[in-house]
C-alpha cells in the first residue's frame, strides 16, 4: 500500500553494506551456493551472536487478471498466525519467543514476497525447522482466513474514508487505470476480500514459495557451509518454480491536476507525484540526500515554503516510494489550509523548481553527516545488513557494493546532475488535491470518486 513514509524509514532500508567496518573487523560479502544448490549472498559479520536470513520470492500475482489480489496479503498473515504441520496455531510463536527469534513475511514493491528471520546462531537448527514447516505446510484454515480478511477489510474501509488515502487512490487510478496492479496496491476496492476463498490462498501459496527464491542473503558470524545447510533445511520440500513470472504494466504518469471533492472532509490535502528511475540504475544515495533536503525536517525546502513562509500547513514533506521495483515515485504531500490550497500548489511548485535548479544549500559535508552516521550505526545490525544485501542482489548490484563509499563519492556536481536527469521538472507532476471545497484548485479536473481520475 502506498502511504507517506518518513525519511527515517527509508534510511533504515538503505543501510550500509559489505565494506563497512564493524567493531574493528571488516565483514566480507561473497556469493555462495548451498549443498543443495541454493545460491545466496553471505555477509560474514565476525563477533555477531545473531544471524539474519532474508529470501525474496518473485511474484506477478498482483499483475494478473485471474488472481485474487487479496490472497497475498491475507495468505502471508495466515502462514504466520494460523499454524503449520506439527505446530498447532499459537504454539510456534511461543517457541520462537523462547528462542529470541523474530520473523516475518511482507510484500516488497509487489514484485517479491520477502521472508526474514533473525535468531541466535546456536538456535539455527530449531529455528529453520519451524520456519520450514510454516513455509512448506501451513494449515491455512478457514477460520484464520475469515479472521484475517475481516481485519484487513475493516482496516481498508477505515483508511479509505481518510481524505489523504482517497487522494492517493485517485492517483493510482490516474496512473494504472483498470490494470489489476492498481487494486493490488491498496485493496481499495473491497470485492477481492469479499470473494476470497481458501483455494485462492492455497494457489497463491503453491506458486509463490518455491525452492527458487530470486535472491537470498545471510548475515552473521557463520561460515558458508553452515549457512548453506540451514538454507537447504529452510527450503526443503518446497516445489520447483513452476511458471515464468511476467510483470507487464505501463503506468501513465502524464501530468494532470485533479481535485477530489469530498464535501464531508474536515481537512484538505495536497500531493504531487512523478516518476523516478528504478534503484537498479543507481543514484539511491543521491536521491536520499536530495529528498531529505527537499522535505524531511524543519530546515527542508518544503517546510520552509509551506509552513514557515506561507503558514498553510503543520508539515509538508517529500519522499520516495515504489509502486513496483521498476516504477518508483517521488512524492511531495501534506495537509493544507483549505483556503490556501491554490496558493500552496503554486508555492510548492516554485519551491521545487528552485530546488531542482539550484540544488542543495550549504555545506555538502553537513548534508552527508547524518547519513554517514546512520550507516556506521547500523553496520553491526545483521537484519539491516541482510536486507541491504538482498535489495542489492535484486537490483543486480555487485556483491561488493558499499553504500558508505557511494556516499563518499557524492559531489555537488553529481547531485546537480541527478536533479537534472533523474528528478522530474516542476511541471511533470500529477497534482491531487482532496478538499471539501470543489473550487479549491482552480481549473483542475474535479471528481467525486477516485475512480474518475482515470478519465482526467
Amino acid at each position: 500500500m502506498i502511504r507517506l513514509i518518513p525519511l527515517t524509514a527509508m534510511v533504515i532500508s538503505l543501510a550500509a553494506c559489505s565494506a563497512e567496518e564493524t567493531n574493528g573487523s571488516t565483514p566480507s560479502a561473497s556469493n555462495e551456493v548451498s549443498p543443495e544448490g541454493i545460491e545466496f549472498t553471505l555477509l560474514a559479520m565476525p563477533d555477531s551472536d545473531d544471524v539474519a536470513v532474508q529470501a525474496a520470492w518473485p511474484t506477478d500475482w498482483a499483475y494478473r487478471e485471474n488472481t485474487n489480489p487479496a490472497a497475498a496479503l491475507v495468505g502471508a498473515e495466515m502462514i504466520l498466525a494460523g499454524g503449520a504441520e506439527g505446530y498447532p496455531e499459537g504454539e510456534a510463536a511461543e517457541q520462537l519467543a523462547d528462542l529470541n527469534t523474530e520473523g516475518g513475511l511482507y510484500g516488497s514493491a509487489n514484485d517479491h514476497i520477502v521472508g526474514e528471520l533473525v535468531f541466535e546462531r546456536d538456535d539455527i537448527n530449531e529455528v529453520v525447522e519451524i520456519a520450514n514447516a510454516h513455509l512448506r505446510a501451513p494449515l491455512l484454515g478457514q477460520s484464520w482466513l475469515d479472521r484475517i480478511s475481516d481485519g484487513i477489510t475493516q482496516g481498508v474501509r477505515e483508511e479509505r474514508a481518510q481524505p489523504g488515502a482517497a487522494g492517493f487512490e485517485a492517483i493510482r487510478w490516474a496512473v494504472f487505470g483498470e490494470h489489476p496492479l492498481r487494486n493490488a496496491l491498496s485493496l481499495y476496492d473491497l470485492n477481492p476480500l469479499d470473494e476470497l476463498t481458501r483455494d485462492d490462498i492455497t494457489a497463491w501459496h503453491a506458486e509463490t514459495f518455491t525452492r527458487s527464491p530470486e535472491a537470498v542473503a545471510v548475515a552473521g558470524d557463520i561460515d558458508a557451509r553452515s549457512a548453506g545447510e540451514a538454507l537447504d533445511t529452510l527450503l526443503a520440500g518446497l516445489p520447483e518454480q513452476g511458471r515464468e513470472v511476467k510483470r507487464n504494466v505501463s503506468p501513465d504518469f502524464t501530468p494532470r491536476r485533479i481535485l477530489l471533492h469530498m464535501p464531508q472532509a474536515e481537512v484538505s490535502t495536497l500531493a504531487f507525484i512523478a516518476p523516478l528511475p528504478p534503484t537498479r540504475d543507481g543514484g539511491e544515495v543521491e536521491d536520499l540526500l536530495l529528498t531529505h533536503a527537499l522535505g524531511s525536517d524543519d530546515q527542508s525546502v518544503l517546510f520552509d515554503a509551506v509552513r514557515t513562509q506561507l503558514r498553510a500547513s503543520y508539515g509538508f514533506g517529500a519522499g520516495v516510494n515504489n509502486y513496483t521495483r521498476e516504477h518508483r515515485i517521488l512524492f511531495m504531500a501534506g495537509e493544507v489550509d483549505t483556503n490556501q490550497m491554490a496558493e500552496a500548489e503554486a508555492v510548492v511548485r516554485e519551491a521545487y523548481a528552485n530546488f531542482r535548479q539550484n540544488g542543495l544549500e550549504g555545506d555538502l559535508a553537513d548534508h552527508k553527516a547524518p547519513l554517514a552516521s546512520h550507516f556506521s550505526e547500523v553496520a553491526d545490525r545483521v537484519m539491516v545488513q541482510a536486507n541491504s544485501a538482498l535489495e542489492s542482489a535484486l537490483d543486480e548490484h555487485p556483491v561488493e557494493r558499499s553504500l558508505k563509499q557511494e556516499l563518499e563519492a557524492v559531489t555537488e556536481a553529481s547531485l546537480n546532475e541527478r536533479l537534472d536527469t533523474a528528478f522530474p521538472s516542476a511541471d511533470e507532476f500529477i497534482v491531487i488535491a482532496v478538499s471539501p471545497d470543489a473550487d479549491a484548485l482552480p481549473e483542475a479536473c474535479v471528481i467525486i470518486t477516485p475512480r474518475e481520475a482515470a478519465g482526467c
Binding site: 511461543e94 479472521r147 474501509r157 474514508a161 524543519d298 553537513d366
Partner: protein
C-alpha cells in the same frame, strides 16, 4: 524516541513541533550544584543537547503553544547548518527542546539553546499565525482519529484531579483562545534555570560539557528547587465510564484502560519493569496469558494487545486493546477480558510461565557488555525519565533491577490491576458491533 520509549509513553500525548522529525539518538551522568545536567557519552560523530522544563500547566494546550513560540524564538527562525537537527515536544509533564550538531560545536549548540531562557520576542502577528499552525496540527492528530479522541477523553476521566488529565494539544476553541500574553507569562514562569534539566548525549565527555557550560555562561539556578519532586498521582474514587465512538467506516475495536492503587509503594523503575513483564505475560498463549482464552482456544478477539505502566510509585495503569472476532460484540470482548483477567488473578501466574517470560525479558535491557548498545539504551532511558520529571537511576542501579524482579510482585500487580480502580472503556466502530 525508541520503540521502547514510545511504548512507555503510550496513552499520553507527546506532541512535536515538526511533523517529520529526525531522531537518531546516541547516549553517564553528572549533576552540578548550579545546573541539572545529565551527560551520556558515546562513540558518536554527533552530539544532542536537550533542555526540558516542567510545566505543570492546567490550561489545556497552553504549554504546547509556549513550546512552539519558544522554539521559534530560539532555534526555528534562525539559520543553521544542514547537519543540525532540532525539534521540540510537549507531554503532560514537560516541554522539551533539542538541537544536534558536531561534537566540536557543543558551545554553539548550548549558546543557541540558552536563548530558551530569554523572554519571547516573536512578532505578535507571527504568534497569532502560529495558533493557525497548531490548528492544522490538531487536524493532523485528532480529526478522523477516534483513537486519539478516545485517548484524551479516557485520560481526562482516569486522571481526574491530576494535572495530566488536561489535554496537551487542547481543543480547537482552546487553541483559538490562546493569548500571547498568557503564553509569555507561562514561559516566564516555567523557562527558568531552576526548572530546567539539560541532557547531553553523544560524542562528548562530562568534562567537555562542564567546560562548555562555563564558556556560554549557561544560566545557573538562582533559588532552591521548588518543583524538583517527581510528580505524584492521586486516584479519584473508583468509577467506570463507557465512551462510544460510532464510526460507520471504522474498524471495530474496544480499548479498556484501568488505573489502580497498589497496597504499598514500589520504587518507580522497579515497578515499571514489573509492569512491562506482567504485560508480556498477559500477551502470551501460555497458561496465565490471555491469548489462549481470547484468541486461540476461543474465537473472541482476532487480535489484542496489553500494555501496563506505572503512573507513580503507588499507581499502575493497564491498557487492553482488542479487535473482535466475527459475530462477537465489543461488549462481549470487554466482558471476556475482565472475566479472564479475574480468573488469572485468582489462580496467579504459574511458575513455569513466569520463568519462560522472564527469560525472554532479559532483552528488555541492553547487552551491558556492549558499550555502544548500553550507552544508547541509557540515553533513551535518561531522556524518558527527565521528560517525565523523574530522576534517572545511575547505571549501577539500573543493572540491579533485573535481579529484583519477583514472581510474588508480579502476582501483586496482577491482583491490583484486576481489582478496584477507575476504568474507562471506549467502543469504536460501527455501532451495531457495540452490543
Amino acid at each position: 524516541m525508541t520503540v521502547k520509549a514510545l511504548i512507555r509513553f503510550s496513552g499520553w500525548w507527546l506532541i512535536a513541533i515538526v511533523a517529520l522529525p529526525l531522531f537518531w539518538l546516541v547516549n553517564v551522568f553528572f549533576e552540578s550544584q548550579d545546573h541539572h545536567v545529565y551527560v551520556q557519552s558515546a562513540e558518536a560523530s554527533e552530539v544532542y543537547a536537550h533542555v526540558v522544563f516542567g510545566h505543570r500547566s492546567l490550561a489545556s494546550g497552553l504549554a504546547h503553544y509556549v513550546e512552539h513560540l519558544a522554539w521559534l524564538n530560539t532555534v526555528g527562525a534562525k539559520q543553521r547548518s544542514a547537519n543540525r537537527h532540532s525539534n521540540a515536544w510537549t507531554n503532560p509533564y514537560a516541554v522539551g527542546y533539542w538541537l544536534s550538531g558536531k561534537p566540536d560545536e557543543l558551545d554553539d549548540l548550548l549558546q543557541t539553546l540558552s536563548g530558551l531562557f530569554e523572554p519571547l520576542e516573536v512578532p505578535a502577528k507571527f504568534a497569532a499565525e502560529e495558533r493557525e499552525i497548531i490548528l492544522r496540527e490538531y487536524e493532523a492528530h485528532m480529526v478522523d482519529k477516534p483513537d486519539a479522541q478516545a485517548a484524551e477523553a479516557m485520560s481526562a476521566f482516569l486522571y481526574a484531579g491530576n494535572n495530566i488529565a488536561s489535554s496537551v494539544l487542547g481543543t480547537p476553541d482552546d487553541i483559538r483562545g490562546f493569548s500571547y500574553d498568557d503564553a509569555r507569562a507561562l514561559h516566564a514562569a516555567t523557562h527558568r534555570p531552576e526548572n530546567a534539566t539539560l541532557v547531553v548525549t553523544g560524542g562528548v565527555t562530562e568534562r567537555e560539557v562542564s567546560r562548555a557550560l562555563k564558556t556560554v555562561d549557561w544560566p545557573a539556578k538562582q533559588s532552591a528547587d521548588a518543583e524538583s519532586q517527581p510528580p505524584t498521582f492521586e486516584l479519584a474514587k473508583p468509577a467506570d465510564t463507557l465512551l462510544r465512538y460510532p464510526e460507520k467506516e471504522a474498524s471495530a475495536r474496544v480499548i479498556l484502560r484501568h488505573v489502580a492503587a497498589l497496597p504499598e509503594s514500589i520504587p518507580f523503575d522497579l515497578l515499571e519493569a514489573h509492569a512491562l513483564l506482567l504485560a508480556d505475560i498477559l500477551n502470551t498463549n501460555l497458561a496465565g496469558g490471555l491469548a489462549g482464552p481470547l484468541r486461540f482456544d476461543n474465537a473472541i478477539a482476532r487480535g489484542f494487545d496489553v500494555q501496563a505502566w506505572p503512573l507513580d510509585e503507588r499507581h499502575i495503569e493497564l491498557r487492553f486493546r482488542a479487535a473482535p472476532d466475527r459475530g462477537v460484540s465489543l461488549r462481549a470482548v470487554q466482558k471476556a477480558f475482565r472475566d479472564t483477567l479475574a480468573e488469572i488473578s485468582d489462580t496467579g501466574i504459574p511458575d513455569e510461565t513466569y520463568q519462560r517470560v522472564l527469560n525472554r525479558f532479559e532483552d528488555f535491557w541492553p547487552d551491558w557488555e556492549d558499550d555502544d548498545d548500553a550507552a544508547r539504551w541509557m540515553a533513551d532511558y535518561t531522556l524518558e525519565r527527565v521528560a517525565a520529571l523523574r530522576q534517572p537511576l545511575p547505571l549501577s542501579d539500573v543493572k540491579r533491577l533485573e535481579q529484583q524482579l519477583s514472581h510474588q510482585r508480579i502476582n501483586t500487580l496482577l491482583n491490583t490491576i484486576a481489582g478496584n480502580g477507575r476504568t474507562a472503556v471506549a467502543f469504536i466502530g460501527p455501532k451495531e458491533r457495540f452490543e
